[in-house]
């Protein structure tokens, strides 16, 4: 696998800030030699802690110091320092291309295609079950996360045809198999299946297997790589299906993971956030607003409590970004489906700070409301993609926004259908009973229209859950007897059960702490 820059020397596009011939793929600075030697040794020794330190810390520091805008030395150049180990070099290249995607611009189709090939090789090795390493969960999550990200990035890249040079278009044709959607989906699916992760999780529920309890690591001399990659691939599949607009299938892919419990998905904060973000978004698009609200609330509370511990980590920016996006999605959910008791106080305060104005607008359902929904949706939604390869004949356009525009349009369409419901809410909150005739008069519509509106409220406030049952999400309700509407007051009740559970666990923790205290 030749280092890509070898070919570029005659016809490279505008080079980065360094001097034009600054990058020599074969030059290996001493610090990199040491890095490679040590990382290789730690991987051979299965010293997960040290691997993690080097992966999170060492690699970032060297990138910042020596490779701000340039790629790392080529794999061939560092091969002597790791015995030319094939698998290690696949991992090294994985880091190489990830670094390139983050720091190098422009990134050519050739680079992207090579990264694709590397992932194929790496996953193939893992799928053959011959890998005998233990890698930190952070790295394994980042692998899957990056895999999906590069796929998404490539789809965006190749959909922007308008300003591409002849050379770039030729490259696209040459590498037309790179990042093809079938391949991407099938690799992730293969990882899920080969790792037998769904069976493992099932058996774990019955106490027949240890997986979550060991954080996914294998303490019996085996490897955690296939199992954990399989696990994270379920989240990867959820993410891709969201990018394609297939929310139902996305949620099905995630089904083996129980979000009511801690699990391997909560160990790495990036995976925790990505899971809940996409789960919540998919539920939102499927009109399961209460479910989305519930999960967003939990994760936003979590981030509020624990983000300070991640300030130094390279994921910090991503964490903050997703945090903001989820507040936007929460604002949308609560505007479409008001709930009284689901939001934690602290989250509610943050939400009001950020979006009080917008939420007031959105609940008015006038023109300004649509603008607010549009803005929040566009800010918070995933970067949808068009999975089919481009047709490279004239005229060349940019169609990278098509997928997003469709999802936005359909979302706003749903918002429009709920337009009349806010009027209903404000009127019905004032009465305990009222005749259809009277209410129609107040709302200045005819009776038939009013009956339609009332049934629309019922329809929109009762969603179909994943088991096919009808679930009410109405914050207040009514029923009609012939011509009279009876409004039902829902009194907010204190949920004592939850309170007691929390206190029991808290006290248990405290007792545990106290028992550790030794008196001299």
């Amino acid at each position: 696998m030749a280092a890509p820059y070898d070919r570029e020397d005659g016809l490279a596009p505008a080079p980065p800030q360094h001097a034009p011939d600054a990058y020599d793929p074969n030059y290996v600075p001493d610090s990199v030699k040491t890095f490679v030697v040590h990382l290789y040794r730690h991987i051979r020794d299965k010293n997960v802690y040290e691997i993690h330190q080097m992966y999170e810390g060492g690699f970032q520091r060297l990138s910042d110091r020596l490779f701000r805008d340039a790629p790392w030395p080529s794999a061939e150049a560092v091969a002597p320092y790791c015995d030319g180990d094939h698998v290690f070099l696949l991992l090294y290249r994985e880091l190489w291309y990830r670094h390139a995607h983050a720091r190098l611009s422009p990134l050519t189709a050739a680079h992207r295609a090579e990264s694709w090939t590397n992932y194929c090789d790496l996953f193939t090795v893992v799928l053959h079950g011959v890998v005998n390493m233990q890698l930190p969960n952070q790295w394994l999550w980042d692998m899957v996360d990056e895999f999906v990200y590069q796929f998404q990035s490539f789809c965006q890249y190749r959909a922007k045809l308008k300003n591409k040079t002849e050379d770039e278009l030729n490259q696209l044709q040459q590498f037309d198999k790179a990042w093809n959607v079938y391949g991407v989906l099938n690799y992730l699916q293969a990882l899920v299946e080969k790792s037998m992760i769904t069976q493992i999780l099932e058996r774990e529920k019955e106490g027949l297997e240890q997986f979550t309890a060991t954080d996914g690591y294998d303490y019996e001399g085996g490897s955690n790589v296939l199992k954990v990659l399989g696990y994270y691939s379920m989240i990867g599949l959820l993410r891709i299906h969201c990018l394609l607009g297939d929310y139902h299938t996305g949620l099905k892919c995630l089904a083996p993971i129980d979000l009511n419990q801690q699990g391997v998905y909560t160990i790495v904060i990036g995976s925790h956030i990505s899971t809940i973000y996409h789960y919540g978004f998919a539920n939102l698009m499927m009109r399961r607003y209460v479910e989305a609200t519930r999960e967003f609330n939990k994760i936003l509370l979590y981030i509020l409590k624990y983000k300070q511990y991640h300030q130094k980590s390279p994921q910090y920016d991503q964490i903050l970004k997703k945090n903001e996006q989820m507040y936007a999605l929460l604002a949308i959910c609560l505007s479409l489906c008001p709930q009284n008791k689901l939001i934690d106080e602290n989250v509610s305060t943050q939400l009001k700070e950020k979006y009080n104005d917008k939420m007031t607008k959105m609940q008015r359902y006038d023109d300004e409301a649509y603008a607010a929904y549009d803005e929040l949706f566009s800010y918070a939604c995933p970067k949808f993609i068009t999975p089919s390869p481009p047709v490279l004949d004239q005229p060349l356009t940019n169609y990278n926004q098509d997928a997003y525009r469709l999802q936005l349009k359909l979302f706003l369409y749903e918002v429009k259908q709920q337009q009349l419901l806010s009027g209903i809410r404000s009127y019905l909150k004032l009465y305990s009973t009222i005749t259809i005739g009277k209410l129609a008069q107040y709302m200045e519509v005819d009776e038939a229209t009013l009956r339609s509106i009332l049934m629309t409220y019922k329809h929109k406030m009762h969603s179909v859950d994943s088991d096919g049952k009808i679930v009410s999400s109405a914050d207040f309700d009514f029923y009609i007897v012939e011509d009279i509407i009876h409004i039902v007051e829902s009194k907010p009740t204190k949920s004592h059960g939850d309170y007691f559970l929390r206190q029991i666990l808290k006290f248990e923790e405290m007792i545990g702490e106290l028992e550790k205290v030794q008196f001299d």
Partner: protein, 226 residues
């Protein structure tokens, strides 16, 4: 909701479960759509898989098949299947006359405008009659909405929602009185139909879930209790 009559066509369902991201199953999935139509069954997963494959290879999309999938999805209301399908169909394809009509029909159903729906459906009989069972499915949905909303519904309201009148409606009411627990009474201006009690039109039947604790949460304190 039409999920109860799942086809025994395990071959296709196996394909979808085991090997969904495979261009070779496209033809099987298309055949399966036609089977669902003719045998009055329904499978959302298979249809979504097909729409996904069409997304991956737009040249192979069949407008006819997509139309059938959409009509089947409409029949699955109140489930949001119709919009789930639309999410997967490119905008320019949604501009086809057939699809614009179906979207309008879906809009009427989503906003409970049954008179407008039946009028529009009558004008587009040629599109809809390819799928047997369409009328009954929509009538089931209409009754579902009425059951969420009314304890007692006036006859004209019911008639408009299910598009049945006169003698045919009498027969319909007789049937449901005998089989679904409907009771026909004399109301203020017309007959009223008393619909069966459920937690949505009789809020006192609603289990107070606010104070009940889901089992998974209780499991959290098992280590403490033991």
């Amino acid at each position: 909701m039409a999920t109860e009559q799942a086809a025994e066509n395990y071959t296709v369902e196996d394909l979808v479960a085991l090997n969904p991201y495979n261009p070779d199953i496209l033809n099987d999935l298309e055949k399966f759509v036609n089977e669902q139509v003719s045998s009055q069954t329904y499978n959302l997963d298979a249809n979504l898989s097909l729409l996904r494959l069409y997304q991956f290879e737009p040249e192979r999309m069949s407008i006819q098949i997509v139309a059938r999938i959409l009509i089947k999805a409409l029949m699955a209301m109140p489930a949001p299947d119709f919009s789930l399908c639309l999410f997967l169909i490119p905008e320019h394809v949604q501009m086809e006359e057939q699809f614009k009509t179906l979207i309008v029909l879906s809009h009427y159903l989503e906003t409970a405008r049954f008179r407008q729906f039946w009028d529009e459906a009558a004008k587009n009989r040629h599109i809809l009659e390819v799928v047997p069972g369409f009328e009954q499915a929509i009538q089931t949905y209409a009754i579902h909405l009425l059951s969420l909303t009314y304890q007692k519904v006036p006859r004209p309201v019911l008639a408009e929602a299910i598009n049945i009148e006169g003698l045919a409606l009498d027969k319909f009411l007789e049937y449901h009185a005998a089989n679904s627990g409907w009771v026909i009474e004399k109301g203020g201006q017309s007959q009223v139909i008393v619909l069966p009690r459920n937690e949505f039109n009789h809020p006192e039947l609603k289990k107070n879930t606010a104070d009940s604790v889901p089992f998974e949460h209780v499991t959290r304190i098992f280590p403490v209790l033991s």
